[in-house]
Symmetry: C2
Subunit: 308 residues, 2 copies
């Protein structure tokens, strides 16, 4: 049964919940300086796309199995924990990525980056501690979340974050400065660097429920298309937007001679490519057989039409 649904309300309500629990969970019990750096890295400013994808995928899957979609069942607790965990992985990757030995960026979400604010050593540790916290959130003691779901969430997140996922993509990126990649190579890099965690978010949400194989495969396709669309749009915005809108340094890729979809395809073709991927994502939702994929569809729209 598909109930009346206001997507703006849905996003707003879930964003609020995500911010609430992140604020409770991040930095708790940490030594003062470290906790402060962790909270600075995570709170106040993120778009929370990955947590919203987790919750939207959980919403879509729950629409099929008729489960209570409130945040009170154990599976919704699992989804909320997964949503925060994936955001912590994303946040830690930004902290490390901004460091002088990587992208050497001083501005993020309109604020000084973590190492500028707290020093490089604290930034390094804060990123490390955020990754550990991500996994800690998924395996709470004395929780009603079934252990098989806890283990599966850890597994999906670890693969998405590690050498065959995000970290692997960053390593390929590192080796690609000044190198002429073709479109296949560029796609492979982005599939790992940003796609793996976005797709992982969708799969983690689907894990907090009883998605059948068809739905799971379709959601994975949605996640893959969305992940690539995200990157293509990122490359477009790096050329078309200014730093004030982006909240980070614009024009960096070209300045660093990094291959992008715009440098490879040209601006117009890149924009068409983003539209194609958007359509692929929506088609995958159709094919999923899930009755209510409106939140996932709305997030795909946001990814493609965002201004920053």
């Amino acid at each position: 049964m598909v109930t009346p649904f206001d997507i703006a309300d849905w996003i707003q309500g879930h964003l609020l919940r995500i911010e609430q629990v992140l604020s409770v969970w991040v930095g708790q019990g940490a030594p003062a300086g470290l906790g402060e750096a962790m909270r600075y890295a995570v709170l106040d400013g993120g778009k929370r796309l990955r947590p919203l994808l987790v919750l939207a995928a959980r919403h879509a899957v729950a629409s099929a199995d008729g489960a209570d979609a409130s945040l009170h069942s154990s599976c919704d607790e699992a989804a909320l924990r997964a949503a925060c965990a994936v955001e912590l992985i994303h946040a830690y990757s930004l902290v490390h990525d901004d460091m002088p030995c990587m992208d050497n960026d001083v501005l993020r979400r309109g604020k000084p980056t973590v190492h500028v604010q707290f020093g490089q050593a604290q930034a390094l540790l804060a990123g490390d501690a955020l990754q550990a916290l991500a996994f800690e959130l998924l395996v709470p003691e004395n929780s009603a979340i079934p252990h098989n779901i806890q283990a599966r969430l850890c597994s999906v997140l670890a693969r998405a974050a590690g050498a065959q996922g995000m970290a692997g993509g960053q390593a390929i990126d590192l080796a690609s400065v000044g190198v002429a990649l073709n479109e296949n190579q560029l796609r492979h890099m982005h599939r790992l660097k940003t796609g793996a965690l976005l797709e992982g978010s969708v799969l983690m949400g689907a894990t907090c429920g009883q998605a059948n194989a068809t739905a799971l495969a379709a959601l994975a396709q949605y996640g893959a298309a969305l992940g690539l669309a995200f990157q293509v749009v990122d490359d477009i915005l790096d050329v078309t937007a200014d730093a004030a809108t982006l909240g980070k340094t614009a024009g960096k890729d070209a300045a660093q001679d990094k291959p992008t979809y715009v440098s490879l395809l040209g601006l117009e073709s890149a924009q068409r490519h983003a539209q194609d991927l958007h359509q692929q994502a929506l088609a995958a939702l159709e094919a999923s057989g899930l009755p209510d994929t409106r939140a996932l569809a709305a997030l795909a729209d946001k990814v493609v039409h965002r201004a920053y």
Copy 2:
């Protein structure tokens, strides 16, 4: 039943197995440069104290529940995975700790440190990917390891590694350069910085079996005493050993004006303290009620009597 047992054989056999599986698991499927840096950081040279603690604790617990102590049961697979996971956390922490923004060390286990060999960016990513891999190892798909054990292992490891464990201790260490810590503050720092992961190793091994509450509490005490003894001996060796024996730069703590047990207590008192902690660890094993704690006792001996 306590069977005849040669501790040197036990350690040798288990070391071999640890090296074998680390060699298979580390860097698998990673992009070339990243995988190489990960393997360089982990393989060839570690003492493997933490993995041995996991396996020795598993051995002690299995001696009580009469389980088959071979490496073929699901719980022994769990212990082997836990052993490798904890070593990966240790290895990643060394990689990040050696970086210029932290300890700026160029020598580790007698070889150039990872960032010297592969560059800082690759070292940063290799550390990050090793942490993710540690958690991935604990939650294998299609394994006979019960999901509650998988989840519990993740939980213990995440806490031991994170802001309330190792990373937290490193942050306190960072804030302690040139500061006059008293013995309580120094102990608190080391409990987190090195103690948490050593104690976590023992608890992870105990998790791969059916330890009762008395045994678990005693093993935690053993781990805490051993963890502290390890650090006291480290401080002693930093003064008494040379770089060739240590495989790393000697005399660094004093040079960096870092508080140590030797600077706080003097060399002789520090040596007596290490002996006391050694006795506490052995007394905890007695109190555990576990029939066969010989491997754990032998590892405590090794920690206190090591020359590097």
